[in-house]
Symmetry: C2
């Protein structure tokens, strides 16, 4: 069995089923091994950014190791932006990078790069394999690190892929059950009782069904408020679930909202900071008078920690979500704008939908319309690196083949991993992409107006303008093999969305705003 086969066998035994990849010559033994070692299906992306985003989506939905395979430094480089998002989401991504044969690296051939340093910018765990004997244990260690949410990258020189070892030991991947810090629970329970106005700030799996229910129990028992971090990796939301608001993106609003609390308990969320540091602004959104406690450092055991907290405050069992369908929005009419597009989506999204939200400015209103929508999952842009939506949808759809995926997508960001459409078509994935075509980097216009004391000049305006030339999303989508149409009114959008959701396979709707 060669090193490539050993790697795949170790990964397959640990539950890896899919590998998002665009391989090259230095990965050929691994390419060959996919046909020899059963259990892992490679999914081809036309650009590594698409693969990395797909892995992020897959990992967010399954919690299982989300494997990628990339070609040398440039292949990993192309994946950096979406691996950055995955790192912020603490998605269990497991990257394998082929490298030159170890004896060839010193020759500084054209494709040679410092892959370890590159990896360290996006992975909490990086290792260069030093021999074929080490492949299985290195793979197991990488998978274990990935499952801890570190983002793991294993660099495997080609000679250790092709070398054979008789009867290799396949290392198991051991995962410890989630643990919580009982002292932290007790401290939080005391703080919640002592505090006048308390907040549970939820992130990680505190935003999934169990976490939300236990958070609601605590809230009911001690009267604290619940709030979600601004950009959740995977939130469950809708009818039957406790509804939580999101911490605002604009720092002034966030500071104002948080200032109401004297006690803040972080459950799977980081201590909130400003997204950008503005002139005259601050990094911290909290202040020194506030008591801040960390219930759970990890994003992966926040739900369990909340359960313990609920017991500690003697909260009664969860009595069901308070949300009902009274708030379901009415379908709007007439020429579309961002608000109407959000309303149409909120009104029509089917039960069990996975909503990937990379709408940037267009969906500002969307979130509040969906508190009582049919139960759904929401995947947000965790790391701010645009190009996540088109690709994340691939992984979410492959992870949950029985759930419709809707990518609520800004046009500027969609361009970054536009090649994702091809993989959507190739795999026949049930993804509906709504391109919010406002033909500008609207967020940049907003930030310019905020930051600069002058109007943008001609050059500055040219850097925010996506209207020259006008992108024809329908043609581009069809060119990649995804059926598409364009809509101008709310009625047309409702009709097109209804039709797209009724069909299997991918669809794209250019939503002219």
């Amino acid at each position: 069995m060669n090193g490539a086969e050993i790697l795949l066998k170790t990964a397959a035994q640990a539950g890896v089923e899919v590998c998002f990849t665009n391989p090259g010559t230095t990965e050929l033994p691994l390419v060959a091994a996919f046909d020899i070692v059963p259990g892992i299906r490679p999914v081809l992306g036309l650009f590594e950014g698409c693969c990395a985003g797909a892995a992020d989506g897959y990992g967010r939905m399954t919690g299982k190791p989300a494997m990628t395979l990339f070609h040398l430094g440039p292949g990993l480089g192309n994946a950096v932006a979406n691996l950055h998002n995955a790192r912020r989401a603490r998605t269990p991504v497991f990257n394998v990078i082929g490298d030159h044969a170890s004896w060839h690296r010193g020759a500084d051939a054209p494709l040679t790069m410092d892959i370890e340093s590159l990896s360290a910018t996006v992975s909490g765990w990086t290792r260069m394999v030093r021999s074929t004997d080490a492949v299985s244990q290195d793979t197991a260690d990488a998978l274990q690190a990935a499952l801890l949410g570190m983002g793991a990258t294993l660099i495997l020189p080609q000679n250790y892929q092709w070398a054979d070892i008789p009867d290799p030991h396949i290392a198991p991947v051991t995962t410890n059950p989630a643990e919580v810090d009982d002292h932290g629970i007790d401290t939080a329970a005391v703080a919640l009782k002592k505090g006048k106005k308390c907040l549970l700030l939820l992130g990680g799996d505190a935003l999934r069904e169990k976490g939300l229910q236990h958070a609601a129990r605590v809230s009911a028992a001690v009267g604290c408020d619940l709030l979600s971090e601004t950009f959740p990796a995977h939130m469950e939301r809708g009818r039957g679930l406790p509804a939580v608001a999101r911490l605002p993106y604009v720092p002034e609003f966030a500071i104002q909202q948080l200032s109401a609390f004297d006690t803040i308990i972080l459950a799977g969320a980081k201590k909130p900071v400003a997204f950008f540091g503005y002139r005259g602004g601050t990094s911290q959104l909290t202040n020194d008078t506030q008591q801040i406690f960390t219930l759970s450092e990890s994003m992966g055991n926040a739900a369990l920690a909340l359960e313990h907290l609920a017991e500690a405050v003697k909260a009664p069992p969860h009595r069901g979500g308070q949300a009902d369908n009274a708030g379901t929005p009415v379908l709007p009419q007439g020429t579309l704008d961002a608000k109407k597009a959000s309303l149409v989506l909120a009104a029509l999204q089917p039960e069990n939908a996975i909503i990937v939200d990379e709408s940037i400015t267009s969906a500002v209103g969307y979130y509040k319309y969906t508190a009582t929508a049919p139960r759904f999952s929401l995947l947000a842009l965790t790391g701010g690196a645009i190009g996540m939506g088109m690709s994340c949808s691939i992984g979410a759809a492959l992870a949950c083949t029985d759930r419709p995926v809707i990518d609520f997508q800004a046009d500027g960001s969609a361009m970054y991993t536009i090649q994702s459409l091809w993989t959507q078509a190739r795999e026949g994935l049930d993804i509906t992409t709504l391109i919010c075509a406002n033909r500008s980097y609207k967020i940049l216009e907003a930030e310019f107006n905020r930051a600069e004391s002058r109007l943008p000049g001609k050059q500055a305006r040219s850097l925010m303008d996506l209207g020259h030339p006008l992108t024809d999303w329908v043609k581009i989508s069809q060119g990649f093999g995804v059926p598409a149409c364009a809509v101008n009114t709310a009625e047309e959008l409702a009709e097109a969305l209804t039709r797209a959701l009724a069909e299997t396979g991918p669809n794209l709707i250019q939503v002219n705003l």
Copy 2:
């Protein structure tokens, strides 16, 4: 004057005229400064890989600092692959990366990354600006490093962009004239006289008109052979110029070709090594019995070194290129294949054309058909990171507005920076893209057949197949605003190419192979 304006003023005074960019919030003072400081025009790309490739093409054609402006770590990450190619081409790229305000970096906001480490993987020179006072000198130092072919990246925190300084000193960029090592020249001259069979291996500016002419003088005087490195950054070629063959990509062929020589002089080329390290293969293409001398370490003064060498061997003046138009290929007929496509291009490419070659496998025959083509420039894939052609063409066309650019482009690689078409349309650039649509990663098929002792199985084949779904390049191109057509025969290609070259503005031809 604020730090952003100081940076642009320093760059403009050093001759920077264009900046390839996709900025974000942390670059807004620089965005605003484009309208305040005259001299530098920002050119928008829809993805940073397009900007980096454009800068590479611009720098290769002009030798001037090729400026980019990117948004934080993810923006730079998206540019890594093409910056890697630029590094291998020793293109004078000057990257500016906006970072969070220095006081905000420690907050670890969602977009925070280790930009310095990321930059060091592709830049020979990286610096984080530490104060607004330092901006001008830091910029000048970066430009100087860029002009030495190091690839320079300056990271400018946003607070040092927006802070004002009264009457700042604008640091000049001093460049030393190219120097050559006379001892090295003399050693090479002696070696050439002593050697039985000698080779001048040419790279860098040894492949430009002057370099080629002086190399031909040396060859005529001492009877040595001339050979080009495999992937030249910018070679001048065609009628009136000495014709040189290229060192083969396949290591066995390269070793065989080089084994004929007992003496090898490197003029702007690195000591040749294998592109990949194959099982049972070696890194070095030369052997211990061969004498190898470095005439010029730098790629930028190889032509001058060759001139000195020509004087040292008392070579008579250059008598004009030996190539004439006797070898101009006849237009082929019938259903297209890669050879016919190459012949059509070689037969029709107009005088002064810039040929960007990212055809990978399709243009294997093209090079030899062009020895007597009308004079042209050839830009090859220097670093092996695919995604160079579509974007490099942008920079070449902006650098040389009076020269037609033809991108001879593989379909797999074209996908990597497909968004380049939009900038081509926006800027009205005279670029004709020939998509060699063979619907596969053909190079990977070839490498698989070479490396593996088995036929590719179903999974492996799926990773080389680009035919499911079939990409409609015409629709995609039109979607980005670039007129396009598809051709199936040599006659259709000849007609479409002739028409495209007669038009101004970009065109794309899907060449069905």
